[in-house]
Amino acid sequence: MNREALQHPLYVMVHPFNGYWDLKYERSQKTSLIISFGILFMLILTNVLGDQYSGFLVNMNNPRYLNSLLEAVYVLVPVLFWCVANWSLTTLMDGEGKFVEIFITTCFALLPIVLINFPWIWISNFISAQESSFYYFFKNFAILWSGLLLYVGIMTVHQFSPSKTIGTILLTLLAMAFMAFLTLLFFSLIQQMIAFVSTIYQEIVLRR
C-alpha cells in the first residue's frame, strides 16, 4: 500500500465525483477494502473514545453503562444493514455496483465523521456551555458531509441519475427497517424457543 492509496480517502472527501470514479474504475479493490475496514475501525474507536473522554458539558453518558463492544455493534450493524439493503435493492434496479463496491463507498463516506469528531473529543474538554453549540454544529456538519458523500458515492457506484439515487436511498432506508424488524422477530422467536425448551427441561428435572 503506497502513500497515494492512503491519501485517496482524503481526496474523495473533497472531490467526491472524481474520487468515487477513481475508486470504482482505477483503484485496486483489495487496497480500498483494507482502507475501508480501517475507516470503520477508526469510527468505532472515535465513538468509544468520544463517549468516554468527551468534555463534561457535552457528555451525557452514564459511565456505568458504557460498553465498547456495543459501540462496535452500533457502527457495524447499521453499515452492514445499509450495504445489504442497498445491494439487494440495486440488483433489482439495474444498479451497476457490486456488494464490495457498495461497502467501500459507504465506508469512505464515513471518513468526515471520524476526522471531525476525533479532535472534538479533546477540544470539548476546553469549552464552556455557550461554546458547546460549536461542538454540536461540527457534529451535525460531519454527518451532513458524510451524507453528501454517501449520496454521490451511491450515484457513482451504480451509475444512477440524481433523482433515482434519492429514490434508492429512501427505499434502502425502508428495507433497513424491514430487516431490523425481521431480525428482531427472529431473535425474539429464538428466545421464546429457548425459554420453552428450558421450561420443559425444568419440568422434567424438578418433577418428583
Binding site: F56, F126, S128, A129, Q130, I190
Partner: protein, 486 residues
C-alpha cells in the same frame, strides 16, 4: 459426526451470545434497595444514611384522650401543640409537647345551639390558634376561635361558577395569613375553592390540567356526538391534599400520573414550584406494579426554608425536597416495625421532627433527625439564608457522612466559586453533575489560566510560525539551487 456436533455447538454458543447481548444491565429497583436510600443523578437508587429515625409512637390511649378512631388529619402549631382530628370519634384532640392530651373538643356553641361534628376530614390551625375544621358529614366548614367557640360557619356556597347540583363536601382546609380560606372539596375538579375572610366564596384556583393522549384524541375527533357522549369523560385530576407556607403559597399534591404531582400555587393559581433538581419532585422514580405502581402522594408539609415533605401512601414513604426541587432524603415504609405504617394519611412537622399519622392504626409516629439529617437540614437552611460559607462547611460534613449525596457537592462548589478557587469549584460542580455552574466556574478558570500563560503561549506560537516560515524558505532555496545546477 463429531465435527458436526462441534460446529452446531459453536453456532449455538454464538447465538446465545447474541441473544444475551440484549439482556445485560439490570436496574436495581427501589423496592429491593437499602432501607434508606436516595436517587442519584442517573436516577438509580443508591444507599444513603437515614436522615430521620422513628423515636416515639403516640396512640390515643398513650396520650390519655382515649383510643383514636380513624383519625384523618393532624396539625402542629408553632409552639408544638398537636391537633389530631379524630374523625371516627367526631372530635379533635390537642396534645402538648410531651404528647399528652390537654384538651378534647367534640362540640361547640353556635347561635346559642350546641353543635357537633359529623365525620370531619380536615383541620387547620392558624398562628392565632384559631381552628378551621372541614366538617365533611355536615357539609360545612367550622371556624372556631382560640377558646373553641364557633365564630363562623361556611355552608354550601352559592355562585354562578357552581353547577346547580353542586354538593359541598369539604375534606381539607387551609388558611393563609390574610384569613383567606382554601378548601379542597370532594368531587371538585376545578381546583381549590377560595373563600374570603368573611366566608364568601370567591373562585376556584389552580385546576389541574387534563391529559389526553394522542390515540384518545384521534378517536374523539372522528367519532360522532352520540358516540362521544358514550365515551369516558376526561376530567382533571383532583388534588389529594394541600398545605400553606409562611409566605402564603399553597403547596398541593394530586394523583396526576402524567403531569406534576406536586405543585406550588401562587395567588393566581399558577404553578411556581421550582424543578431545578436532577428530576422533578414526584416521589419514587423506580417502582413495580407489584408494590402498587406509581407513588400516590396523599399529603404535603412545608416547613421553613422552602423545604417540603410529601407522603406516599402506596409505599408509606416520606420524600423531602428543598426549594429548588432536589431530593434530600427518604424514610418510612409500609410494615409492622416502628417507623413503618399501615395506611399513612397525614404528615406534619414539629420543629425539626416529622409526624406521620396512620389512619387505620390510629397512631402518630414521631421521627427525629439523626446527625446526618440535622447536618443536611442545617446546610440547606444556611444556603437558603444566603450564608454560603456555613452552608459549604455543613455540606462538607454531609459528604463525609454520605459520599453519594451529589447535591451537596454543588454547595461546596458554590463556596469555592465565591472564594475565587475556580478549579476546585469546577471539580465539585462536576461531581454534582451541575453543568450550568460547572460552565461558569470553568470559564473563569480558563480565563485565569490563559491570562497567566499568555506570554508563554504567544511566544510559542510566534516561534512555531517563524520556524515554519524559515523551513519553507530553506526548501525553496534548495529547490532553486537544484534548478540552477541543471
Amino acid at each position: 459426526m463429531v465435527a458436526r456436533i462441534k460446529k452446531l455447538r459453536t453456532g449455538l454458543l454464538a447465538l446465545c451470545c447474541l441473544v444475551s447481548l440484549g439482556l445485560g444491565g439490570e436496574l436495581a429497583l427501589a423496592e429491593s434497595a437499602a432501607p434508606s436510600y436516595n436517587y442519584s443523578y442517573w436516577e438509580n437508587a443508591v444507599a444513603a444514611p437515614s436522615a430521620y429515625e422513628a423515636t416515639t409512637l403516640i396512640t390515643g390511649a398513650s396520650s390519655g384522650a382515649g383510643p383514636f378512631n380513624n383519625p384523618q388529619d393532624i396539625q402542629v402549631t408553632a409552639d408544638k401543640q398537636i391537633y389530631v382530628l379524630d374523625s371516627g370519634n367526631n372530635r379533635f384532640v390537642i396534645l402538648d409537647q410531651d404528647y399528652k392530651s390537654v384538651k378534647t373538643v367534640d362540640a361547640f356553641q353556635f347561635m346559642g345551639k350546641a353543635e357537633k361534628f359529623n365525620n370531619p376530614q380536615g383541620i387547620y390551625v392558624t398562628q392565632q390558634k384559631e381552628v378551621y375544621v372541614a366538617d365533611t358529614g355536615n357539609k360545612r366548614i367550622v371556624h372556631l376561635d382560640s377558646s373553641f367557640k364557633a365564630v363562623g360557619i361556611i355552608e354550601a356556597p352559592k355562585s354562578e361558577l357552581l353547577q346547580a347540583n353542586f354538593e359541598f363536601q369539604p375534606v381539607r382546609v387551609a388558611v393563609d395569613k390574610a384569613d383567606r380560606i382554601y378548601v379542597m372539596s370532594a368531587g371538585v375538579f376545578d381546583g381549590f375553592m377560595e373563600f374570603g375572610a368573611d366566608g364568601v366564596f370567591k373562585s376556584f384556583i389552580g385546576a389541574n390540567r387534563v391529559h389526553v393522549d394522542a390515540v384518545e384524541y384521534f378517536w374523539k375527533s372522528i367519532s360522532t356526538k352520540a358516540q362521544r357522549e358514550q365515551m369516558v369523560m376526561y376530567t382533571p385530576t383532583e388534588f389529594t391534599n394541600l398545605d400553606i407556607n409562611d409566605e402564603g403559597f399553597l403547596y398541593a399534591t394530586n394523583g396526576d400520573d402524567y403531569g406534576d404531582p406536586i405543585k406550588k400555587l401562587n395567588a393566581q393559581g399558577a404553578d411556581i414550584l421550582r424543578r431545578e433538581g436532577y428530576y422533578k419532585p414526584s416521589g419514587d422514580l423506580l417502582y413495580s406494579t407489584r408494590s402498587g405502581g406509581a407513588p400516590r402522594l396523599v399529603d404535603i408539609d412545608v416547613s421553613d426554608s422552602e423545604i417540603y415533605a410529601v407522603l406516599d401512601a402506596s409505599r408509606g414513604r416520606v420524600f423531602t425536597y428543598n426549594g429548588d426541587g432536589y431530593l434530600l432524603y427518604i424514610f418510612g415504609g409500609i410494615g409492622n416495625r416502628l417507623g413503618e405504617f399501615n395506611t399513612p394519611v397525614a404528615i406534619e412537622h414539629s420543629g425539626d421532627d416529622i409526624l406521620v399519622l396512620d389512619q387505620a392504626l390510629g397512631e402518630i409516629t414521631v421521627f427525629q433527625t439523626t446527625e446526618y439529617g440535622r447536618t443536611l437540614n442545617s446546610a440547606v437552611r444556611s444556603y437558603y439564608n444566603g450564608d454560603e460559607e456555613l452552608a459549604s462547611q455543613e455540606f462538607s460534613k454531609v459528604v463525609n457522612l454520605n459520599a453519594n449525596m451529589e447535591y451537596a457537592y454543588a454547595g461546596i462548589g458554590k463556596a469555592y466559586l465565591r472564594q475565587g478557587e475556580y478549579k476546585e469549584s469546577a471539580e465539585y460542580f462536576e461531581r454534582s453533575m451541575d453543568r450550568t455552574n460547572y460552565s461558569k466556574a470553568f470559564l473563569l478558570y480558563r480565563k485565569e489560566v490563559l491570562r497567566e500563560h499568555f506570554s508563554t503561549i504567544m511566544t510559542g506560537l510566534i516561534v512555531l510560525l517563524a520556524l515554519w516560515l524559515g523551513l519553507r524558505m530553506y526548501r525553496k532555496m534548495k529547490a532553486r539551487k537544484k534548478v540552477e545546477l541543471h
